[in-house]
């Protein structure tokens, strides 16, 4: 039992932390484009942080749940609703059979992640469930999800400890101008001093030639010493490749493992969501940081993940998760207004009361 798709949306695929270990055979890593939203989703539903979830792009699918489970929606705000009621983002939600998940207008960001406790019932290919569309591997038959597809749950959870506490502040993706911090290299010496200055001071626009493989930018030409060709070498997630024409292309999750164009810099791990959640027309600026600073930021993010996992797993008395209020209201044909939470102590017992104004 799992999820039945009434429609697939624009581009909905199964993605995990990526297909590592096969780059030496030329198999791209793939995996979640926004690694932070992806990991947070898994932490919220108690999964291993690399468990496969759904990557939902711009226009979401319409999905009917055929089994109860705990799910969480992170990443872009694509106006998700559960049974017609706005579904909270960055919060574990209990769903039951017959519940209907739908999406509306893209509000901010590009890619949302739907994590389901226990993951999906699909076979890994080369150690990963990530969909790599070009080679038609991973996910559901190596393709995006569409009408009448079914995705089974592998080990669904009726509930989770501290369900009502499993929430984090949603990340804000509404900015249309972003600074991407980069570590210079590996071929920053293939550019002139002026070229490097242009790159770090110029304003670039995300073009519509942007997909899971890479994002082409429009903006001032970055000058090479000679040209943009090198003897092919390896490419990291976030590599800023600049071919001879001088316009940057940021290499993303489905990037090829190796390539023959100069790479001036690499977007640091914690800033990857700033490019993968951007849309055509958004403005990008680059700022150089040291490898030490980049790794400090990386480690701070790791620490935050670990702390969240601990806080979700810690025993907090017997705080029982209420059925997600929105669902109960919807069942009554009502929609919920603003939600307030109270902690009440009665006879030594701690109660958490969720109060929501009802609009009929």
């Amino acid at each position: 039992m799992g999820m039945k798709f009434r429609s697939g949306g624009f581009l909905t695929t199964v993605q995990d932390a990526g297909r590592t270990g096969y780059q030496q055979f030329g198999v791209p890593v793939s995996g979640a484009m926004d690694p932070r939203s992806f990991v947070l989703g898994n932490l919220l539903v108690g999964n291993d942080e690399g468990e496969a979830s759904l990557e939902i792009t711009l226009m979401g699918p319409m999905v009917e749940f055929t089994a109860a489970n705990v799910v969480a929606l992170t990443g872009a705000d694509l106006s998700a609703t559960l049974n017609g009621v706005p579904m909270p983002r960055y919060r574990a939600v209990l769903v039951k059979p017959g519940d209907l998940l739908a999406f509306g207008m893209q509000k901010s960001g590009c890619r949302a992640y739907l994590a389901a406790a226990g993951g999906f019932d699909i076979e890994p290919v080369m150690g990963s469930r990530s969909t790599y569309l070009k080679a038609k591997i991973g996910g559901l038959q190596g393709r995006k999800l569409g009408k009448d597809d079914f995705l089974g749950f592998r080990a669904p959870a009726a509930t989770l400890p501290n369900l009502d506490l499993r929430a984090v502040d949603p990340e804000d993706f509404s900015a249309s101008e972003r600074v991407l911090r980069v570590v210079l290299g590996p071929q920053d010496d293939a550019f002139t001093e002026d070229g490097r200055k242009t790159f770090l001071s110029g304003t670039y626009t995300v073009t519509n030639q942007s997909d899971r493989m890479g994002s082409r930018l429009e903006g001032p030409v970055v000058e090479h010493v000679k040209d943009g060709n090198i003897i092919s070498d390896g490419i990291s997630f976030g590599a800023v490749q600049i071919p001879s024409e001088g316009k940057p292309i940021i290499m993303l999750a489905d990037r090829q493992t190796t390539g023959g164009y100069t790479k001036i810099a690499n977007v640091i791990t914690v800033d990857l969501p700033r490019i993968t959640q951007s849309k055509p027309g958004d403005i990008i600026r680059f700022e150089a940081v040291s490898i030490e600073e980049a790794q400090e930021l990386y480690l701070a993010q790791r620490t935050r993940f670990e702390e969240l996992r601990r806080s979700f797993e810690e025993k907090r008395g017997d705080a029982r998760a209420p059925v997600a209020p929105g669902i109960a209201l919807a069942a009554l044909g009502l929609s919920g207004g603003e939600e307030r939470v109270f902690h009440v102590e009665l006879d030594g017992h701690d109660y958490r009361c969720v109060v929501r104004e009802i609009k009929s």
């Binding site: 780059q23 030329g26 570590v183």
Partner: protein, 242 residues
């Protein structure tokens, strides 16, 4: 160890560069270093990606930081002796040259002041060492192409190139295993599938083998294509002499 450089490729990988040319010597050093690294047991290394002139090392900064990893790798660079080289096998790749399948053959010929037939004769006259696989699943990067048929990459990559296309970029030649974007000059196409996820061995070629291209006419190209579709196509291989 010569002039090995550690190049920054972001905060979760580092590229160890052994040189800036395509040479058997550099490739052998990279292979040796890759084996030494895998035996070193350094904690935190996720995977390594050998290329013509460098080894990209992916790692977890929560296990090992950049400076510490580079220091340990510097130590390993002195121990690159006695690495076994696997016996070489030559794999024959049938190719239909020119026409719709090789739209840039005319450019490559003109660029080098040759006829198309001369380019084909030179291209099929060599056994090419597979230095590495990369770019897309199973894409073989080959060494040993004759400089007299070299041609520059396209200034801007094509958005879509059909799987099986055989191309030239600079002094490199290769075959696209699947449909993909790319900037190589296309001179022909093979009916073989270098990559097929439904096959027992998804990737046809491996590093250390050699490739020999063989020119075929359209009739044979189509016949082999049908065998590939039916799963009855057998690879022609022979042992490399010398």
């Amino acid at each position: 160890m010569r002039d090995v450089r550690f190049l920054l490729t972001g905060d979760t990988s580092v590229t160890v560069e052994f040189g800036n040319e395509i040479s058997g010597g550099i490739n052998a050093a990279i292979r040796a270093f890759n084996i030494a690294l895998s035996k070193s047991g350094i904690d935190g290394i996720v995977e390594t990606v050998p290329t013509y002139r460098s080894l990209m090392v992916h790692y977890r900064p929560e296990k090992i930081r950049h400076a510490e990893l580079c220091e340990m790798m510097r130590g390993l660079l002195g121990k690159l002796d006695d690495i076994e080289i696997p016996p070489a096998e030559v794999v024959e790749i049938p190719v239909l040259y020119g026409g719709e399948e090789g739209p840039d053959l005319a450019f490559v010929a003109e660029h080098n002041g040759k006829t198309e037939d001369e380019v084909v004769k030179i291209h099929t006259g060599t056994e090419y060492l597979i230095y590495m696989l990369g770019f897309t699943p199973g894409f073989p990067y080959l060494g040993g192409m004759d400089d007299s048929i070299a041609a520059p990459r396209l200034k801007s990559p094509r958005v879509r190139i059909p799987g099986g296309s055989v191309g030239i970029a600079g002094t490199q030649t290769g075959v696209y295993p699947i449909d993909s974007p790319g900037g190589w000059q296309l001179i022909g196409r093979t009916p073989l599938k270098l990559y097929d996820p439904g096959r027992e061995r998804p990737i046809l070629l491996e590093a250390g083998q050699y490739i020999k291209f063989r020119a075929v006419d359209r009739e044979e190209y189509e016949a082999i294509g049908r065998e590939v579709e039916q799963g009855t196509c057998r690879l022609h291989t022979y042992a490399k002499e010398g």
